[in-house]
Amino acid sequence: MRTMRCYLALEDGTVFAGESFGAEGTSAGEVVFNTAMSGYQEILTDPSYCGQIVTMTSPLIGNYGVNLEDVEAAKLHLSGFVVKELARRHSSYRASGSLHEYLHAAGVVGISGVDTRALTRRLRDRGSLRGVISTEMSDPAVLVGKARASAQMEGRNLVEAVMPRNETRIESAGGSAKFRVVAVDCGIKQNILRELAQLGCEVRVVPPTTSAERILESRPHGLLLGNGPGDPATVGEAIATMQSLIGRLPIFGICLGHQLLALALGAKTYKLKFGHHGANHPVQNVDTGRVEITSQNHGFAVDVPSLQAVGGRVTHVNLYDKSLEGFAHADQRVFAVQYHPEAAPGPHDSQYLFEQFVGMLGD
């Protein structure tokens, strides 16, 4: 692999020089950091990173290559990938290729050799910043200008960019389905669907533009509103659809789905300073007192007082910053979590939520 100079510039004037990997070119996005120590392939294929340049705080990336299974979506949607050191040689019995080849084929620009800790500290102190990665430009001032000219995340609807155009159907694992579930795909991770299928659900995956009537057509036992990218407040159509569905069937929201349900109930969302992206955040289940180590990936959060004002009950709290991680609306058979019980990557501590959801479907 030949190396080529590459730059990462931030809107605050910081420029990192490094080496290019993956695709060549120029790409802008909101720069975020992820603190997970494994699972870069799942992160790369998570559609929620659409519009973002992802920095791994773990310094040695690409060690086990990429494989055909650890994939969360058919396409890569992120704007760029930043690492400290890219493995020259990968090693894993499951590997089907290198990370470099993978990003190259997917057209994602990557930069290695970056002081990712310095970058992370900057993002922590100043909040998420827009940035640009380029193999084509080297003038720092030009690069910074380009970063400043890129789109803001707040107010940005990225669901449109990642949502499917058509409906698909996923069979339940191991024969006849016990339940029918509709999953609204705003950029949903495949592992959410795998989890449902494992628990005996036949899943109809629909775009978020699908009407409530159309969703109810197949007489589903429940509805799952999955993760996705961008500012939740901009996904008005889906919020409206949810408003008409709440109370009519059990609904489970995950991540963006959590935010959309809160908005549908009348609560508010806000942008976090630098978001939660990682696989080690402790979340306390308010009902049991137990702590789950969770997989996280979100830049927005639900405002608790506004949620409580509309009858939402806090069920899960982030022990790091006390932000909302889950709520329920018992009357309306709605519950949701901000984090990722499907993990991928991350711990399986919260897998019980899928069982909880499926448990509601018989009612």
Binding site: P59, Y93, R117, R121
Partner: protein
């Protein structure tokens, strides 16, 4: 849940002496836990026999019992505390390693805990049994559906044979309940199987071995797991062993976090670990769970779990910043994880999983050079005595930093004085082969007889068995053998293989090391070629700066972890940097260990150095470059303490103890304290021991970089080098030359004590005696000197650790061999001196009594008339001079010296302190021969006896010394600590060493001038005999009260052994003796059964008596040393069977005295206990 209010007094059991498999990590975790429990308001009662620990400091626990770790003493403690009105209600067994756990279990099994109503907290007996008992563990794992290697459990050889018939060879044998896998191993032949199975059965506490399917070559991983009473489980750290299965994890190079697992595989492992915790029933504490992964299929097998803190948990704590022992202690008293704050961030709870943004490498430290007969092949039985850890942003950087932390005369991964490839390349280059560096890699077939230079220099060569590979290119067969046998030198041979053009696949096939790691090493090898190809440009860049390929390569070399020493050696030039302690711009970056990969601001300053490319900032159209620095120091004056690096024989926990005390005392005086050390097992590298911690190699270059970064922000009051053993002492001169303020005894005074000629001059000025001696700079000179002095003579290299290469010579032949070794053994090459220092030759004093004196003084320069010196303790050795002082058993107060003699020794020590100009601690070794004291050696620094003396006298001498070094007068400091002019202990304290002989199969267990003990214990009681008995017990040696004693001594000892034999006889022992000794006994009228030294004789064969367990005591003073002699083999056999073995007459006298006193008191029922706090009260 809040803490438990139903328990108040908690007994904590420590791990006893430092042995292979149980190092000072348990002092670290035990100390942390004791502090945590007391902070919660519990009263902590401690049992630990190791006086060199911080844990046994009287202020660490409320009641400190330095007694043997056995159920008997636990019972005595429970009784005494009950009698005192504060009965113990809980026992925390999970902090004292296998020793603590075993003792707790035995106490439980004897019903003692139930009798006193004591509850085991942290881990219940059922949990411990389930985790430790192979059969129960296997059943438990099968219940939860986890994959295990095929295996069977045997209690005798018939069962063992039946199992192996089913499993097939090769297989692995693991004895139940042993330390560091002792007695186990991999076997591939039936003969070896029978041999090791029998040994394992004998070693196991419950006579049980596990025979397992061989997972040789599988990848090995460990998870450090914590679970609380609410069933919250968190993984603190994952650790990947670079060496595959087959090498004990304590002997493996390990890396954190795991590098070659996908998230899916890692989460599967994590789920398994959680399931294990639940099934085994660890409800409130930490555990270590080990896995093997088949690299071809991903199959994961569980190997074992330890329901306690461990060496790995100490490593995980240091690697992540998460204090596992502290948290585990709080969980044991009822807290849940979310109720405990994370000390590093202070704003987040302990119920999270640390995420790290660096790479941690640990390399074990072996001491095979001390045991030339030992097999250095690494197996499932641990052989290393210590370890170093390094942190870098990449594996390559951490790996090289860790290698140079080891102090094995390696400056990194190659490009040093011991690099045979580089030496050869330089020679070829000098011969005019301009392309030498490039072509060497491919021209492996070239016959080249150039002998490699200097590869045997150093305290510990990285590879003991170098004879097969002294030429470049290395013989292919030899290299193949080196790669396929796990041993300490293997990484360097991997490098040579790459240099010779071998592929990663070839090396992988032989080593089974994951190709990812091999590629990391190959990248370094390739970089060397690149560097040397551009040597002129690099030299130019180093001299003049500028931009271009030279500058790029220099920067890259730093980022890859190369030291300037390596680069300079490779380029054969001093690269032009001022070596001064002044801040400079291009000085690398220091990064913080913060548990959270910078996601949150961290409060605890715990740093490592790294190198990063500068970041650009566009400000008002201008571009500014800079590397981010994270060090934040307060403006107050800082005191830096240099630690001792990895534990090894001769430099271990005793020095860490002193460093910790130095930091505590400097802090008490209002200074900000900074610790620099690379040893993850220690209290000194705990994040709250000092104000700032730098986890760095202790080399001149690395230390100087830290100092430069300190002076950039804060005043540097001084650097303390005299507490960490030889390591920091070797750095003192060069650091001082670089402008660092070395405090305490100045380097010129140190020089005065170390330079033989100057020292001799000083002694004659002071009117003190010294054994006749000479200084040899060549082998010929050595012979002349020996001729003049007359044999026997003692030879020793200067500036070495633990008597390295020190030998007693009886003739010219021995002298010749040993002098050559001594010239090669000095440590100073690493400190930048070129000519090898001289070898010292002393007349050996026969039958002399050896005395150690520790003192503190506050003189400012040699001959200073102001100032004072206080003798801390006078230790009389039980063994005669000639046995290394670190290996001798010694007593405070002296048991055979008159008061007048003691005063004379004090006077001489004080004269010496003044003459040398000691400021701080000093240790003097005297030998008393024919009534006259001779000065053998003076070391103006902390000696390894300081903690023992402190415990025996109740005065924290290292703290006293620190205050003095920081400028206070001795008188004032003694006043602070309420110490009179002459502390006089009222009890007898005995320090006894422990040896690793039984880990090295077949090695002769005899004492000599070279130190070989790994740790020590203290026995303390009213009389010499009782204290000695306790000390012996604490080393694991139970002196017999009756039975069969065998006596076999050399001719000079024959008259001396008579009273010993007579007394044994009188006490009811049945005596056995070898022919010569038998005759001597017979002449003196002492009957004994004669035994033969050879097999097949009509009399009983000595080795059979040992192996059949007939003997209860063996007294054998050596004629010959080493495994090649019959007597060496007896001693090795006795050691292997735990038969009490005594190899000196003095030791036998002491043992007999102890047996006599114990019998008089009704055996060990008489041995009582007393807390250090009570002794302390008696002293003041």
């Amino acid at each position: 849940m809040p803490k438990r209010e139903d328990i108040h007094n908690i007994l904590v059991i420590g791990s006893g002496p430092i042995v292979i498999g149980q190092g000072c990590e348990f002092d670290y975790s035990g100390t942390q836990a004791c502090k945590a429990l007391r902070a919660e308001g519990y009263r902590v009662v401690l049992l630990n026999s190791n006086p060199a620990t911080i844990m046994t400091d009287p202020e660490t626990a409320d009641r400190t019992y330095v007694e043997p770790i056995t159920p008997h003493f636990v019972q005595r403690i429970l009784q005494l505390e009950k009698d005192r009105g504060q009965p113990i209600d809980a026992l925390l067994p999970t902090l004292g390693g296998q020793t603590g756990l075993n003792c707790a279990m035995e106490t439980h099994e004897l019903g003692i805990l139930a009798e006193y109503g004591v509850e085991m907290i942290g881990a219940s007996p059922e949990t411990i049994a389930k985790a430790e008992d192979r059969t129960l563990f296997k059943q438990a794992m099968q219940r939860i559906g986890l994959d295990l290697p095929k295996s069977g459990t045997a209690h005798n050889m018939d069962e063992a044979r039946a199992i192996i018939a089913d499993i097939g060879l090769p297989c692995c044998i693991r004895p139940a309940y042993t330390l560091g896998g002792e007695g186990g191993g991999f076997v591939s032949t039936m003969d070896a199987f029978v041999d090791i199975a029998a040994r394992g059965l004998a070693r196991s506490r419950i006579g049980e071995i596990l025979i397992e399917e061989s997972l040789y070559g599988w990848k090995e991983f460990e998870l450090e797991v914590i679970r609380d009473c609410n069933d919250n489980v968190v993984i603190i750290c994952s650790i990947e062993n670079m060496d595959p299965m087959g090498v004990h994890t304590g002997d493996s190079i390990t890396v954190a976090p795991a590098q070659t697992l996908t998230d899916r595989e890692y989460q599967r492992m994590r789920d398994s670990a959680k399931a294990v915790m639940r099934e085994i029933g660890v409800t409130c504490g930490g555990s270590n769970v080990q896995f093997a992964v088949d690299p071809r299929t991903g199959r994961q097998c569980i190997i074992e779990m330890n329901p306690r803190v461990s060496r790995s948990s100490a490593l995980a704590s240091k690697a992540t910043g998460y204090p596992i022992a502290k948290v585990a202690a709080k969980l044991a008293v009822g807290y849940s994880l979310d109720e405990i704050p994370n000390d590093i961030t202070r704003t987040t709870p302990a119920s999270f999983e640390p995420t790290i943004d660096y790479c941690v490498v640990k390399i074990p430290r072996w001491t095979f050079e001390k045991f030339p007969d030992a097999d250095e092949t690494l197996t499932t039985q641990m052989k290393s005595v210590g370890e170093a850890m390094a942190i870098g942003r990449t594996f390559k950087e951490a790996f090289q930093k860790c290698i140079r932390s080891m102090e094995i005369q390696r400056a990194g991964f190659g490009l040093d004085r011991n690099d045979r490839w580089l030496t050869s390349a330089h020679e070829r280059f000098a011969e005019g082969q301009a392309d030498a560096y490039r072509t060497l890699r491919i021209r492996e077939e070239v016959a080249d007889e150039a002998i490699m230079l200097g590869s045997r220099q150093g305290e510990a060569p990285a590879d003991v068995d170098e004879s097969t590979a002294t030429h470049w290119p290395i013989d292919r067969a030899a290299l193949r053998q080196k790669l396929s046998t796990p041993c300490q030198g293997r990484p360097y041979y991997i490098r040579y293989a790459f240099k010779m053009g071998w592929t990663i696949e070839q090396v992988h096939e032989l080593t089974q090391i994951d190709p990812w790691f091999l590629d990391q090493m190959q990248q370094l090898v390739e970089f060397e070629a690149e560097l040397l190809e551009h040597a002129p440009q690099v030299v130019a860049a180093a001299t003049h700066g500028g931009v271009g390929v030279g500058t790029d390569l220099l920067r890259k070399s730093e980022m890859l972890g190369y030291s300037a020493t390596q680069i300079a050696l490779a380029l054969r030039t001093q690269i032009g940097r001022t070596d001064q302690i002044e801040p400079r711009d291009d000085d690398g970056a220091f990064r913080m260990v913060d548990t959270c990969a910078a996601e949150f601001e961290a409060a605890t300053p715990y740093y490592y150095s790294t190198h990063e490319a500068p970041t650009m900032r566009v400000e008002d159209g201008r571009v500014v470059n800079g590397v981010e620095h994270e060090i934040r120091l307060k403006a107050e004056p800082h005191v830096v303490v240099l630690g001792g690096g990895p534990n090894r024989i001769g430099q271990g926990i005793e020095f860490d103890y002193c460093c910790v005390h130095a930091a505590m005392e400097a802090r008490r005086l209002g200074y900000r304290t900074v610790m620099i050390n690379s040893n993850p097992e220690t209290v000194s590298t705990d994040y709250d021991t000092s104000d700032v911690l730098f986890f760095e190699p202790l080399t001149h270059e690395d230390v100087l970089r830290v100092l430069r970064n300190i002076v950039a922000q804060a005043p540097l009051r001084g650097v303390i080098v005299q507490f960490g053993g030889q390591t920091p002492l070797n750095l003192a001169e060069a650091l001082k030359a670089a402008g660092a303020p070395i405090i305490g005894t100045p380097p010129e005074s140190i020089h005065l004590s170390e330079d033989r000629d100057e020292f001799t001059k000083l002694l004659s000025e002071l009117g003190l005696l010294q054994p006749e001696s000479g200084t040899a700079r060549s082998v010929e000179q050595a012979h002349d000197i020996a001729e003049r002095l007359g044999f026997p003579v003692l030879i020793r290299p200067s500036y070495v650790l633990g008597g390295r290469a020190m030998e007693l010579c009886n003739n010219h032949e021995d002298l010749d061999r040993y002098v050559r070794r001594a010239f090669a053994a000095t440590d100073r090459v690493s400190a930048g001196m070129n000519a090898p220092p001289p070898v010292l030759i002393d007349k050996f004093l026969l039958d002399a009594t050896e005395i150690d004196v520790d003192a503190v003084a506050d003189f400012s320069r040699p001959g200073d008339t102001k100032g004072d010196c206080v003798v801390c303790g006078i230790m009389e050795h039980i063994e005669h001079a000639g046995i290394h002082s670190g290996d001798s058993t010694c007593a405070i107060p002296p048991h055979s010296l008159s008061a007048e003699k003691v005063r004379e020794l004090e006077r001489q020590a004080q004269l010496l302190a003044r003459g040398i100009g000691v400021r701080g601690l000093m240790n003097v070794q005297f030998a008393i021969a024919e009534g006259k004291p001779y000065v053998l050696e003076v070391n103006p620094r902390a000696s390894r006896t300081v903690p023992f003396v402190s415990k025996a006298t109740g005065v924290p001498w290292a703290k006293v010394a620190t205050s003095v070094m920081l400028g206070r007068s001795l008188r004032d400091v003694l006043w602070d600590y309420g110490v009179g002019r002459r502390p006089r202990p009222t009890m007898t304290a005995i320090k006894a060493p422990v040896f690793p002989f039984k880990k090295f199969h077949g090695v002769d267990a005899v004492l000599g001038p070279e130190m070989r003990s790994t740790g020590e214990v203290m026995g303390i009681d009213e009389s010499f005999g009782l204290a000695f008995a306790k000390a012996a017990m604490a080393t694991g040696l139970s002196l017999p009260m009756s039975g069969n004693a065998l006596v076999s001594v050399n001719d000079p000892d024959k008259p001396r052994v008579l009273p010993i034999a007579r007394e044994l006889k009188e006490m009811g022992f049945k005596l056995f003796a070898t022919v010569g000794t038998h005759l001597a006994l017979k002449t003196a009228g002492i009957p004994s059964v004669v035994v033969s030294k050879q097999a097949g004789a009509p009399e009983g064969f000595l080795l059979d008596l040992i192996n059949h367990g007939v003997l209860d005591l063996l007294i054998n003073t050596p004629i010959h040393y080493g495994a090649s002699w019959e007597e060496g083999r007896w001693r090795a056999a006795a050691t292997a069977r735990h038969l009490p073995l005594i190899t000196t007459i003095a030791g036998a006298q002491a043992a007999v005295a102890a047996i006599r006193e114990m019998k008089a008191r009704g055996a060990n029922r008489a041995l009582g206990v007393r807390a250090l706090q009570d002794y302390g009260a008696g002293l003041r």
